[in-house]
Symmetry: C2
Subunit: 218 residues, 2 copies
């Protein structure tokens, strides 16, 4: 039974990583759809969100089952409850990919305002934060988790830079306003991806280091 | 022990409702700070976010403790794990109040662009959704939860209306762009409040109706 439980925990980790890989890929694809002005690809991203939601339910069910059928000790208990929260963040990262896809499709109906340079870089950064936050979770690696939290500042810097640049476009030519605002919104969606990764990283630190929990339950 | 456990569950509910009351009040105050151009009040909202975070930790600890020291049955187990997720949404609603407060302080440094009519209405709607989603949770009331999910459309309609109105301001006079964008962002923050309430309501429906969980654990 104990051995079985730890195999189940391992499966849970692998499922979470697979889900993480899927949402990372969604971000990667939606940014390609934006940069290459490929609305079909953006549409695919929207449709594939169903797979993300299926993972959400699957992980959630698995966690409740693990809690119900075993009496996990403090560390494993905290791991499972943290997994339940992390899966919600992953699911919402998937929602951001959908949000970006919708704006990309709208943008593709008009001439391109400018070449997109900073947005793909920002997306790359945010996507790496997602990957590392999950790696930190499965390895209970607080050092990596802290690096993820630190990376949030550089994503915010991208957001500010993108905003300032688009502001000059809008000020110079009001006709650019609707497109510029869509691009600003996309940068905010990417910021939210990074925020979710930061949330995950913070939960990892809390899970590993929370003295209070250990005192109560050890 | 059984009786004690149900008293603890009751305390958990009351704490969640108290936390919900606090974040609702944060929304109410930050909108007053915006409308009355009261930066001191906005600053108070920012500082009071610490109380929201304290609740977050408190509820989380209580839930883990309840899971560890009892062997909750399927329904109670699902209730506790849902509470752990809901508290994260409440904490992030608190973050939106902080986001709005920061934009309000910036806006108060310039002349007011226009009287704010729709934003307070939108906030009122979003705030009521938060309240009702929590009421639905503690009463396991799926009918109320479904009404909350339905209300999300009217919040989206406010968001669109606010966007269109501000777009005309920006098109007519580019000097209004920075202020208009701040107001657009505030409407997006309110949208996220409503999204969190919808998330909570969806979790309530899932908690109460999920056949799959009952089959696995009953």
């Amino acid at each position: 039974m104990q051995r079985h439980f730890h195999e189940e925990l391992e499966t849970l980790k692998q499922t979470l990583l697979a889900m993480g890989g899927l949402v990372e890929d969604q971000i990667r694809r939606v940014v390609r759809a934006l940069v290459e002005r490929d609305s079909d690809l953006a549409q695919e991203v929207i449709e594939r969100d169903r797979e993300v939601n299926t993972y959400d339910v699957e992980v959630d069910e698995k966690c409740v089952e693990l809690l119900a059928l075993n009496q996990p000790t403090a560390g494993d208990l905290r791991f499972i409850t943290t997994a339940m929260k992390i899966v919600t963040d992953l699911e919402r990262i998937g929602d951001q990919a959908v949000n970006i896809a919708q704006r990309a499709i709208e943008l593709n109906q008009e001439p391109q305002l400018k070449p997109y340079i900073d947005l793909p870089r920002m997306a790359d950064k945010a996507q790496r934060m997602v990957k590392e936050s999950l790696d930190a979770f499965v390895a209970r690696d607080t050092e990596l988790a802290r690096r993820v939290c630190g990376a949030d500042d550089s994503v915010d810097a991208f957001k500010e830079q993108i905003f300032r640049e688009l502001l000059t476009f809008m000020m110079e030519d009001p006709k650019t306003i609707p497109r510029a605002i869509r691009l600003i919104l996309i940068s905010r969606f990417l910021e939210r991806v990074a925020d979710h990764a930061t949330n995950i990283a913070e939960m990892v630190i809390y899970m590993v280091e929370s003295k209070m929990v250990r005192h109560t339950l050890a």
